[in-house]
Symmetry: C2
Subunit: 335 residues, 2 copies
């Protein structure tokens, strides 16, 4: 009997270690990162702010780390994943909205004509978001997102969207938390879209997610008290909005900022202005083979001014192709 228990325990332990084999074997907190400048700079920074003997020591409550999401923790090509959700939602709701078949920009979506959709620009997209993300309760919207995530598949990888997260960034999040950083998402994406799945996938609690939002109201409805989602913009968490959102939700200047586009530039500058030692990390998409390669000319996740400032100010830039051993977690189990 004791023998059996030992075997079960050993198997259980073996099960645990196989999820991150290199971390356990080598003690390397970032096993999916190749040795190089980016990895070295991260390790050096974390060591400096956590070592009380170091001149750069930062007390635990001030160890705030902020991460953009789209293109930084998960992919954002060929379009923001929330756009795929929105398109699927328009199609699913169309039976109850016959007017959409002759009303732009909804019509273009129902006709799979994304070029025409794009011609309506940001304003048109917002109209579609309002038409599909509002009018229900917070719980109903969450159930929609969860349902979509469990069935929708990415066009290139044929995988659930929330499996297209970056393994090296998962390790970075864990590493920072192991060093008593508090990790936050600060994303232009919809906060209620993200909250459904980020806790499980990134280990980031719902209240540490900052994103764009629509207005809501509290009403006592037929089913009791509820939060109703209104077709009115509340907050756009992008560019100048990011430091504003950080100040509003966190109330403290970060010491660590991770992003991948010009939309993250202002929160990089804000973090850079911290009187404590701070770290700015840009992810440069350079890997057309395993992921995508894009920067200055891209409509999605453009990295132009941000790249210039990163070079000028000596911020750390990840070269995805050379710095990362693997991109997605599923590559690990495929090895």
């Amino acid at each position: 009997m004791k023998y059996l228990i030992s075997i079960i325990l050993l198997l259980a332990l073996w099960g645990c270690t196989t999820t991150q084999p290199e971390a356990v074997e080598t003690g390397d907190p970032l096993p999916s990162w190749n040795e190089g400048q980016a990895k070295e700079a991260i390790l050096y920074f974390v060591d400096a702010v956590t070592n009380e003997q170091s001149g750069g020591f930062v007390p635990v409550p001030d160890r705030i780390a902020v991460f953009d999401n789209d293109g930084n923790l998960w992919s954002e090509q060929p379009a923001y994943f929330q756009l795929f959700f929105t398109i699927d939602k328009v199609k699913a709701m169309a039976a109850d909205h016959p007017e959409w078949y002759s009303q732009q920009p909804f019509q273009s979506i129902l006709e799979d004509d994304l070029e025409t959709l794009a011609s309506y620009g940001e304003h048109g997209l917002l109209e579609v978001v309002m038409g599909t993300h509002a009018g229900n309760t917070a719980e109903e919207f969450e159930a929609d997102v969860a349902q979509w995530l469990s069935t929708a598949r990415h066009p290139r990888f044929d995988k659930p969207y929330n499996e297209l997260v970056y393994q090296p960034m998962l390790e970075l999040l864990d590493y920072l938390r192991d060093n008593e950083f508090k990790t936050f998402i600060v994303s232009g994406g919809g906060v209620d879209f993200m909250r459904v799945w980020v806790e499980e996938v990134y280990g980031i609690p719902r209240d540490q997610v900052i994103g764009s939002s629509i207005k809501t109201e509290f009403v006592i409805g037929d089913n009791g008290p509820e939060i109703r989602r209104l077709p009115e913009l509340d907050f756009i968490d992008d560019k100048e909005g990011k430091p504003v959102g950080i100040n509003r939700f966190i109330g403290r200047k970060p010491i660590f900022c991770s992003g991948n586009s010009d939309g993250d530039l202002q929160m990089m500058q804000y973090t850079d202005s911290n009187e404590d030692l701070s770290f700015m990390l840009y992810l440069h998409h350079t890997d057309a083979e395993r992921e995508w390669a894009y920067d200055r000319e891209s409509h999605i996740g453009r990295l132009d001014k941000g790249l210039d400032q990163a070079i000028e100010k000596g911020w750390t830039v990840i070269d995805m192709k050379t710095d990362w051993k693997v991109v997605y977690p599923f590559e690990l189990s495929a090895n």
Copy 2:
């Protein structure tokens, strides 16, 4: 030498234990609460949601507890403490604003005529808040609040305002956190006014404070990137605003809600609608001797509809006079 070290260690330990003598001696997590219905109900609830064998078990991420601040964690009489700050700020800024001496409602403050000030109502008060809380940077405003707290004294108790917090509530916060609850403040008070001191006093991190706010903007100023405070209301975290704020900032329905006025009623109803076991706790100010006694007729912290609903729905009501052994922490050291 060893003997000396032992004595120092013993003294240090003694110093630690004397801060909460009864907790250490009896193992009672709420030593400043008298035995009675309120204390019993709290202990019973926490036991039920943390005991995996109990039908009421709630997983850790869902253990969200929200606390009103004014009149619930610290006193709010003879007026909200932030109003005293605002009045002192008007007086301190008056030299740079000679127009205030003939401009209402500022003039009434400078003439110590609070009756006239009150006649301008909420709108007049907001005008004063905008005149004194905006136009500077987030850091400058914080420095103002910190400076004020270190010098201002409460008119009745002649103590710093942040010493007028409730000892039994400090114990309740600790007790919930020891049971892996995440504790939040959800207050009508200004979020930036609270964040300066709540971390130290309540052990609640800045990002777990939800309150009323004015708009801000991110600018690259003369001193680099900064958050500028604008004279425009952003969010009033009161009444229907409280569940809206909880949904926006926490993204999860609480299972524990603590408040003291009708302004907390909607977040009580919201918490009560949780499908998990939930707990609603009203503090009734019944102690004119040690604190203040007020409820249905009070202009500050009115508890009228809330009291009716608490009785009707069987929510727990703290009777300050009979349920609390001490009100303020300084009574402990005076014993």
